[in-house]
């Protein structure tokens, strides 16, 4: 199947205020494609959770979004510390975020489960000390 559109975003890991800029831009782009509002909402939330995770846990990263007639594919790649126990990280309420992150409104351990809930398919590849790659697919 031919790819119709690709977007590439660099996510700055040093600026918490800018976290979400990529997701905001993606949401604008998806709106212009006239996709169903619920599809846009699901993709936006999944992307935003992933973007925030890269900022607070991995020192930033990159996002690639590929859109075909059938699906939105979001690939998040970072060179952060990696996730030591993925099944634990997928549990609601599990978080290693420090206290200062909680005072910024995050770190409840809800992000990864939420990303799974809002995508039709999600895979996590992670290596300790190397980084993490998360691929999410949302059917259109």
């Amino acid at each position: 199947m031919s790819e119709l559109l690709n977007f590439h975003f660099v996510v700055d890991g040093t600026n918490f205020t800018a976290a979400g800029n990529a997701s905001g831009q993606l949401k604008k782009n998806l709106r212009q494609l006239n996709l169903a509002p619920e599809t846009i909402r699901r993709a936006s939330i999944a992307m935003y959770e992933g973007e925030i995770n890269m900022v607070i846990h991995a020192g930033g990263g990159e996002a690639d979004v590929n859109i075909t007639e059938k699906e939105i594919e979001i690939i998040l790649t970072d060179n952060g510390p990696g996730i030591s126990d993925i099944s634990k990280a997928m549990q609601e309420g599990y978080s290693t975020a420090p206290e200062n992150i909680r005072s910024l409104g995050f770190g409840a351990g809800m992000g990864l489960p939420n990303m799974k809930r809002y995508s039709d398919q999600m895979t996590i590849e992670s290596e300790l000390g190397k980084g993490t790659k998360i691929t999410m697919k949302i059917n259109i």
Binding site: A19, G20, G24, R41, S44, E92, L104, G105, A108
Partner: protein, 117 residues
């Protein structure tokens, strides 16, 4: 419930408006944790929060929430106002604390969820 009605009930000040003053919400959600907003809200809700950073507006934008209420008399940052304007989100501030703000809206019939009237 109309956003203008919410502002009235909360004695609130509208920091940033949108074109349509007929903007309506179905329900309300209150939290300082954006993680929880992202995980729990699934309809057109107003967000009541004491969180004073731009992620409160970002979260509303991602969730398609049309209005954010800052409680406890918080003054929004320039970045919050800018983003709210840009994305057409109504931003209002009230002197009320979280408990009273929620209580007033609930008493006037704004439910926690659209279908739980």
């Amino acid at each position: 419930m109309k956003v203008t009605e919410i502002a009235e009930i909360l004695n609130a000040q509208i920091v940033c408006e949108t074109e349509s003053d007929s903007l309506e919400v179905d329900s309300a959600f209150a939290s300082d944790m954006m993680s929880d907003v992202l995980a729990y809200v699934n309809d057109r809700s107003v967000l009541l929060t004491g969180l004073l950073n731009v992620q409160a507006i970002r979260t509303a934008e991602m969730m398609d929430m049309p209005c954010v209420v800052l409680v406890r008399g918080k003054t929004p940052t320039g970045e919050m106002i800018e983003l709210a304007k840009e994305r057409g989100i109504v931003l209002i501030t009230t002197e009320l604390r979280m408990y009273e703000a929620c209580g007033r809206l609930f008493a006037k019939g704004l439910p926690a969820r659209r279908d739980s009237k």
